[in-house]
Amino acid sequence: MALQDKYKALVDAANTSGVNNLQVREQGGVLYIDGNAKGNVKQQLWDIYGKLDPDYASGDLMLNINSVAGVIDGSKLKVTTKESNLNIRSGAGTDFPIISKAARGEIVTLVKKENDQWWVVKTDKGKEGFAFTQYLTPVES
């Protein structure tokens, strides 16, 4: 239970901020926290994590908060790449060729969730393909 003590502030915050399907389990020297929450809640939890474990370097926590679990097909997504354009590929993986690009800040539509890493999106110009979910942020309506 030592890890639950170390990350108590984080677990408490997850409990009080309304994380859905929250699961906290300790196994093999790692604390696993799983659940679904909105993007801002995920950000708050990660900021707490960063305070409890500077640089996230201890390797004793897996914080798996899914901020896009509730996003449904047809939702609008904003391209939130660091600076470059978002690659749209013909398949779910960086080994598939780039068939189109979406500019940073552009709004695209979710067609289908292939898996947690890759979603099929459609641009306003009608181009459809696979994009890495890390660079897609749901537009809060």
Partner: protein, 170 residues
Amino acid sequence: MKRKTIGLVVVVGLVFALSSCGSKTKDADIKVAAENVLAADPACSGLHVTINDGVATITGEVKDEATKTMAQKAIADVKGVKSVENNATVAPPPPPPVVPSATETEAAALTKAVNDAIKDYPGVVATVNNQVLTLTGEVKKADLQKLMMSLNSLKAMGLKSIDSKGLVKK
């Protein structure tokens, strides 16, 4: 005269001792025999037995119901045991793994997903071994949180833990 008196005291004392402690001595012998029976089976290593007037009481923990029944039969067969009170408890099954082990295909998919996730962080080097990710190289401090966020989400693909001690944060 004095010698006779001492002799009498000793005899009386012995008789008294034997009559009052007779069943206790017997219980102690049965206990030794019962403990030897338990010690012979490693499955019973978590069990203890006490004897009171020939009634054996088993306490402790075993891994399953079958071991509990077997221990009871073994103790019942010990000479001098009149009955057995079986208070042994059965250990709950271990919890299922939080992260299930991966097949070869799943392990390959995880490695690919890791490489996709670090693609935009050029200095970062990742190796995945037995569903454990080791990060080395270097990353901008400002990018660290976002990188860790996307890598932590790979638990859904079977990632067990992340060792980033060797990753330099600039």
